[in-house]
Each structure stands twice: as structure tokens, then as C-alpha cells.
């Protein structure tokens, strides 16, 4: 059967849409973190563990782990304009690399974290060139495939992942004399959640500073040039494929670090952990938080992690939520969360495209002077 609908012979780019203009930059020009904000962040990291309850600390720990991966994804998607669902796959890579180095080989914290990040960067560097060689939005489909292939792989590598049953991830969180699993301050030993809070959020802070520095460099401006108009970027001498791969590698590396922290914190990892929904959640974090903004990644990670907890706390007062079948509610907690999640994505994109970070008042002062 011949279907002569394929008329467009010159361009595979999406057809020009009415009123399509040069896309406006999504985010404000990146600023370096600034001493005030750094002091504030450090203060929060070292004060919160002593104030917040154990329950909220564990939720905040998950949020911190999510922030590490979201900061990476935002560099790729928010700043470079390449949409990826692949974070869960690289988190899996990082988690199993850390479990292998830290548990099976018994190596210490700096080594298993470095091993996870190295594996993430390596696998990202292998996949990136193929995934990114096409113009247009192929990456999102390729990474969708990557996550599903990864899921199959994790199920079928029992020596590394424990197969369908998952595996324990018992890795030491010890850095020299400091053991984050049982921190000792002035003679009192802190709970595990308190110590891990400090470790996780220090990692998130490190990831944020690292990405901010990239954004303030020549490479960072190249990323944003590619996002805003790929062809113009290539004409002014930016190596488009190399720059995209750089963003992909950094993003995978941070996802792997997040995966390693997740495994270490939970002490267990099932292969079904790294599924497509997680990839969508990471994208939602940067949409809600603010695309192209490091602060936005953190706010988004907090929002997406805290929202289900808030919904859960509110659910006894919502008559339409059902907890057991047949109690008169029409929607389960899981379904309600998912529906709200979808609605938030749509609402933020339509009404607050700069996300939560866009609602934070802009810092006054000179724009950062470009470095050569």
C-alpha cells in the first residue's frame, strides 16, 4: 500500500507552528552560589538534623538523593535542551557499582562513591554518542528504551543485582575517623538518619556547586547556546555533539552518585526501583522547580518528594480517598498522588513555566562577568 502522505522532503524538523519564535531562554543567567547562600545551605545542613524529627529527616534524605540526580538532569535538559528519561538507568548503574565496590570488595566511602560516578560517566559516555547523534527529540525515546533495557538487564544479572529479589547494599559510610552512620558529637552518638542527612545534603551541595561552575564557564554558555538554537551554536564554532555529550556524561555521573547514595541509605535495592516512572519524576522535579536552575532542581526534588507525604497526611480529611476496597472512597492514595503529580506538571508548565525558582525574587546586582 502506498500512502503518499510523506510530502515533506527537506526537513525532519517539526513543522513550523503558528507564532513560533526563537525560544526565549528558560532561565535567568546562572549566578555563582554566593557566600550568603552557601552559608545558609551549610547552616541548614548542620542545624536541621538536630531539629527535625526522625521521620521528616528520612523524607528529606530521599529528597536530597533526588536533588543530586535532578541537578544533573537539569544541566542536560534545562540548560542544554535535551530531554532524557534515562536518570533511573544511571542510578541503577551507580547503585550496583557502589554495592560491588563497597560491599563485595569492602572498599570505603570515597572509593565506592567515586566508582559509582566513574561507572555512570563511563556508561553515559558510551551511550551518549549514539543517543545524541540525531537532531530533534530522539533522545527522549532512546532513553525510554534505555530504562526498559536496563530493567531487563538488572533482572537478569543475579551475581550483581540479586535478580528479581534485589540485593542488600551494605556499604560503609566512613570517611577517615567520621562514620556518618553513627556520628558522634560531643560524646553523644547521632541516629543514622541524622548522619546520613549531613552526608547526602553535602553531596547535593557539592553537585550544585559543580554544576554552577560548569554553567559559569565557556562550556556552560555553549550548552545554553545549543538549547536556544542549535544551528547558530554550531555556526559560531561550538562543537555541538561534543558539548551535548559532555552534558550527558555529567548528568549520568550525578545520577549514578544519587543511585549510590540511595542504595547506601536504604541498604537494599530491587531492580524494579529503576523504572520509567522514576524517570518521569526526575523530569517533573525540574519542571516544578525551574528548568535551567540549580536552586530549582533542589526545590523540585523537595516538592516531588514531600508532596506524597503531605497528601498522605491530608488524606484522612479527604472523603473521596479509599484506604481499603469498599470504604466509600473512589480513588486510592497512589492514584490520587499520580493524578496530582500529572496535574502539577501541566499546571506549572502552563502557568509558571519558570517553576518554583522563578517565584523566588531575583537577586539584584551586576550580572556575573563572563570569564574568558
Amino acid at each position: 500500500m502506498h500512502v503518499p502522505m510523506n510530502l515533506s522532503a527537506t526537513s525532519v524538523e517539526a513543522p513550523q507552528v503558528v507564532a513560533a519564535s526563537v525560544s526565549r531562554p528558560l532561565a535567568r543567567p546562572p549566578a555563582s552560589i554566593g557566600w550568603g547562600l552557601l552559608a545558609l545551605a551549610l547552616g541548614a545542613i548542620f542545624v536541621l538534623p538536630f531539629v527535625a524529627s526522625d521521620f521528616w529527616l528520612s523524607i528529606l534524605n530521599y529528597a536530597g538523593i533526588a536533588a543530586v540526580g535532578a541537578i544533573g538532569l537539569n544541566l542536560l535538559t534545562g540548560n542544554t535542551g535535551q530531554v532524557s528519561l534515562g536518570q533511573p538507568f544511571f542510578m541503577g548503574v551507580g547503585c550496583y557499582a557502589a554495592a560491588f565496590a563497597g560491599q563485595d570488595l569492602g572498599l570505603p566511602l570515597p572509593v565506592w562513591l567515586a566508582a559509582a560516578m566513574l561507572m555512570g560517566a563511563l556508561v553515559g559516555g558510551l551511550v551518549g554518542p549514539f543517543a545524541l547523534r540525531l537532531r530533534g527529540q530522539y533522545l527522549v525515546i532512546v532513553t525510554l528504551g534505555l530504562v526498559l533495557i536496563g530493567l531487563h538487564l538488572w533482572q537478569n544479572l543475579p551475581w550483581l543485582t540479586g535478580g528479581a529479589n534485589g540485593r542488600s547494599v551494605l556499604i560503609a559510610a566512613r570517611l577517615g575517623p567520621i562514620d556518618f552512620s553513627a556520628l558522634s558529637v560531643f560524646g553523644t552518638t547521632l541516629a543514622r538518619n541524622q548522619g546520613w542527612f549531613i552526608l547526602i545534603w553535602l553531596c547535593a551541595l557539592g553537585a550544585g556547586i559543580c554544576v554552577l561552575n560548569i554553567l559559569n564557564s565557556r562550556s556552560g554558555r555553549a550548552l545554553m547556546a545549543i538549547r536556544d538554537r542549535e544551528m547558530t551554536a554550531s555556526v559560531i564554532g561550538i562543537s555541538v555533539s561534543r558539548t551535548k555529550i559532555l552534558a550527558f556524561v555529567v548528568s549520568s555521573m550525578l545520577a549514578a552518585a544519587g543511585g549510590a547514595l540511595y542504595g547506601g541509605y536504604v541498604r537494599y535495592a530491587a531492580p524494579t526501583e529503576w523504572d520509567l516512572l522514576l524517570g518521569v519524576q526526575y523530569l517533573a522535579m525540574i519542571v516544578v522547580g525551574g528548568t535551567g536552575s540549580v536552586l530549582g532542581s533542589v526545590l523540585g526534588a523537595l516538592f516531588v518528594t514531600l508532596m506524597p507525604q503531605v497528601v498522605k497526611l491530608a488524606s484522612p480529611y479527604l472523603p473521596f480517598v479509599s484506604f481499603t476496597p469498599g470504604d466509600g472512597g473512589i480513588v486510592s492514595l497512589f492514584a490520587l498522588n499520580q493524578i496530582l503529580f500529572g496535574l502539577f506538571i501541566i499546571a506549572f508548565l502552563m502557568f509558571a513555566p519558570r517553576g518554583l525558582a522563578g517565584l523566588v525574587p531575583r537577586r539584584r546586582g551586576r550580572p556575573p562577568t563572563p570569564k574568558p
Partner: protein, 298 residues
């Protein structure tokens, strides 16, 4: 030999549904430039509409299907009018994410109403088998092939012969020139989504008919239409059909032969095989069999 023929017919039947889902995707992509992940949600929508009309209202199956198709087209047009129309000119990333948001909602609403259990659609095919010269084929597979072929023919005739089809082709080729000739872009967008809705609903009904049954998992099946799109070329309707059929046959054949001959590849290998095929294809023919290559500097 007859086993192989049976498998190929089963594969073509599954593949023709991948082809329909892919076709709906390509029609929207070509006319509006939107990478529409919500297509799987529309598939689910159509199937559950049909289930509700058949089982809650007790309508005859054919009428239930017809109304489900119209209902899904309406949902699709509403999505276009209320949500997508406002996203015109926004960054591609935002548009992709908004269709994911829609997918999540379209997936969860039926699940919230009808639960996650496997339901019987209430179709007339059931477990019926048809024998043709020693080859035993599921009746639902034959019907699926028939519906698939009929839809493809209808889509072809629509684009080749009808006034609106011509308007849509003109608009995909050069929107401004089409507008100058009096083609309303709003109408083109609405039509594209309506067609996607109609096709998705039919695919949903056929994919959950007979022995297969209906559950929210259906939208995962729709995700396997993406390898078909990559195989065929993102902007080619012919490619969508050929890619869909190829993926369907390849999936059914691997499902049967891997278990016998290569068990080390793992359980459910056939479910990831389409993605492996897609990856391999991206290496050798990145723009698919029929897609148009992007033209641009370096």
C-alpha cells in the same frame, strides 16, 4: 511450518495495532510538531470507554465501539483545545512534558474508577479459533488484522482524496502557505488530534479484546509503538505501518523462539527486544526506513 505461519499471523495482528498507535503519533507529529506521549493514554481511554458502555449500559458491542471511538476523539480534541493550543511556540521540552503529564492522568483515571484488575471487554470473539488449511488462528487476531487494514485504508483515503486531508498535507508541508490559501491551522490541529483519538480508541479495543483482556497495563503496550516509529522514521506514515508490523512480528517470534533456543537471554526478553532493535536501527539508519533526514550544518 504451520507453527511459523501461526506465529507470523499473530505477530502481524499485534503489529498492525502497533502500526495504528504509531500512525496516530505520526499524524499528530507531522501536523502539530508535538511528540505526543499521551497517545498511550488515549488508547487506554478508548478501551475503557468501550468496556463501560458495553458492561455498565449493556449496549451492543458494535455500538459501544462506535461511541467509544467518538468519545476518545472528543477527549483528544479537548486536550488539544484546552491544553496543547496554549503551548504553541513554547520550548519543545515543555510540550513533551505536558503530554507526559496528560499520560499520567489518562492512565490513573480509569485505574481509579475500574481498578487495576484484568477485565473482560465483553467482545464477541472470546477464545474462538479459526482454522485455515491446517493453520489455527485466534479469531480476534483475524479481526484485528481486518480492522487494522481498514483503518490504514481509511487514513490513506482521507489524506489522499478528501479536502481536509489535502489541507492537512499542505499545512504539514508549509504552514504559512497553507494559511494563505485559507487553511485554518486550528482546524488542522483539531483534526490531527481527532484522528489520533479515533485510531487510538480502535487500537485499544482490539488490543484488549478476545483472550487479552483489559487492564491499565495497556498503556505500556502503547509505549512499544515508539520503536516502530523509530524504525519507520518519525515523520512517515508508511514508516509507521511498516515499522509497526515489523516490531509485532519480531516480538511474537522472539517470544516463542527465545524460550526454546536461547533461555539465557532471560524471561520476557521479547518485551525489550523492540527497544534493542530500535537501538540497532539508530546506529545504521538513524532517520528510519522512510523518515526524512535533517538537513543542516554539521
Amino acid at each position: 511450518m504451520s507453527e511459523l505461519i501461526q506465529l507470523v499471523i499473530g505477530g502481524l495482528s499485534l503489529g498492525s495495532m502497533y502500526a495504528l498507535i504509531a500512525l496516530g503519533f505520526v499524524v499528530v507529529y507531522k501536523s502539530t510538531g508535538v511528540l505526543n506521549f499521551a497517545q498511550g493514554g488515549l488508547v487506554l481511554c478508548g478501551a475503557y470507554f468501550c468496556y463501560a458502555l458495553r458492561n455498565a449500559l449493556g449496549l451492543p458491542f458494535a455500538l459501544a465501539v462506535l461511541l467509544a471511538v467518538l468519545g476518545t476523539a472528543l477527549v483528544a480534541v479537548l486536550i488539544e483545545r484546552v491544553v496543547m493550543r496554549r503551548m504553541i511556540g513554547k520550548p519543545v521540552f515543555a510540550v513533551i512534558m505536558i503530554t507526559w503529564g496528560l499520560l499520567i492522568i489518562l492512565e490513573q483515571v480509569p485505574a481509579a474508577v475500574w481498578g487495576y484488575d484484568l477485565l473482560a471487554l465483553g467482545d464477541p470473539w472470546g477464545m474462538g479459533m479459526a482454522g485455515i488449511g491446517g493453520v489455527q488462528v485466534l479469531e480476534v487476531d483475524l479481526w484485528t488484522l481486518g480492522v487494522g487494514a481498514a483503518v490504514m485504508l481509511a487514513v490513506y483515503l482521507f489524506f489522499a482524496r478528501s479536502r481536509w486531508g489535502l489541507a492537512m498535507r499542505a499545512s504539514a508541508l508549509d504552514q504559512e502557505a497553507a494559511m494563505a490559501q485559507g487553511v485554518s491551522p486550528g482546524l488542522v490541529f483539531a483534526l490531527a488530534w481527532a484522528i489520533a483519538g479515533v485510531i487510538a480508541a480502535l487500537a485499544g479495543v482490539m488490543l484488549s479484546g478476545g483472550v487479552r483482556g483489559l487492564s491499565p497495563e495497556l498503556s505500556l503496550i502503547a509505549l512499544r509503538a515508539f520503536p516502530a516509529i523509530i524504525l519507520g522514521g518519525m515523520d512517515s506514515p508508511v514508516g509507521a505501518v511498516v515499522g509497526g508490523l515489523a516490531i509485532g512480528v519480531a516480538e511474537v517470534l522472539t517470544a516463542s523462539y527465545v524460550a526454546q533456543h536461547a533461555p539465557f537471554l532471560g524471561q520476557n526478553f521479547h518485551l525489550v527486544m523492540p527497544y534493542l532493535l530500535m537501538t540497532a536501527f539508530l546506529l545504521v539508519r538513524p532517520y528510519g526506513m522512510f523518515g526524512t533526514k535533517a538537513v543542516g550544518r554539521g
